[in-house]
């Protein structure tokens, strides 16, 4: 939690736009990265990011003083991703297809143009290949630095389930990365 968060929450509860701006600046990039990697689409990630912050703005006055903003925002973002995924599956079925397999970080990936090295590309692909439940845990723990208990709270899952996903995500990522794995590179 950022040191300024209590002041931000206080400001949000009073309806101060400056407090919103501070929260937006602190969490925009983190949430966007999470949303892009979960949806694999930048346009969708932008929409869901906007919805996340709209919900924050609309609930600003009702926030509890001890709210942990990171957990609150990622919970909202997670729920929006779930809703979007379900809508995608329904659309695909209505179109007569099987639920669409997620784009697997190939050259058409929106992330492909952003990476600077083969190692980064391999990393993005490895994350993209993870099934969403594992990818989500890997992102929240590995990128966001959340503790498994906090991830369980954000995702509405039991801590044991998260620990299991965490272990599998790590194993699958390391296997997918092979020689690109940072840990593997350190070991002879």
């Amino acid at each position: 939690m950022a040191a300024d968060e209590p002041a931000w929450i206080d400001g949000l509860r009073r309806g101060e736009p400056a407090a919103f701006d501070a929260v937006f600046a602190a969490y925009r990039q983190r949430l966007y990265g999470y949303l892009v990697r979960m949806t694999r689409r930048r346009d969708v990630a932008e929409d869901l990011l906007q919805d996340t912050f709209l919900r924050l703005a609309q609930h600003a006055r009702k926030l509890a003083p001890d709210t942990r903003l990171g957990a609150w925002l990622f919970t909202v973002a997670h729920r929006l991703v779930i809703s979007w995924s379900r809508a995608q599956a329904v659309r695909a079925q209505l179109a007569g297809d099987l639920p669409a397999r997620e784009a697997g970080g190939d050259d058409r990936s929106p992330l492909g143009a952003l990476v600077e090295s083969q190692a980064q590309l391999a990393l993005e692909r490895a994350f993209a290949q993870l099934e969403p439940p594992y990818r989500e845990v890997a992102l929240l723990v590995g990128v966001e630095g959340m503790q498994p208990a906090e991830v369980a709270e954000v995702l509405g899952q039991k801590p044991d389930a998260i620990r299991q996903r965490l272990a599998r995500a790590r194993t699958r990522l390391a296997a997918a990365l092979g020689e690109h794995a940072p840990a593997a590179r350190r070991k002879p």
Binding site: L12, R61, L114, E116, A119, L123, L177
Partner: protein, 74 residues
């Protein structure tokens, strides 16, 4: 391996992921739209539509009951 070990290794692996961000225009658009909603209390007009619907349904039900009673009473 403990979950702390798993978390540490995932953090190490994820360190090289590139940071993703929005372009400045999109950032400002999203911020502006959401900022406008901060602290805004819900409009009381949001009750108008459900109230009209409730009145219509209640009126229809009363009419239906009266008609049924009329039919039963001959």
């Amino acid at each position: 391996m403990t979950d702390q070990d798993d978390a540490a290794e995932l953090t190490e692996i994820s360190r090289e992921l590139p940071a993703l961000d929005l372009d400045a225009t999109t950032t400002e658009r999203i911020a502006h739209r959401a900022r406008d909603q901060v602290g805004r209390r819900p409009s009381p007009l949001r009750f108008v539509e459900p109230a009209i619907a409730a009145l219509l349904v209640t009126g229809y039900l009363i009419w239906a009951v009266l008609k049924a009673l009329e039919a039963l009473g001959g």
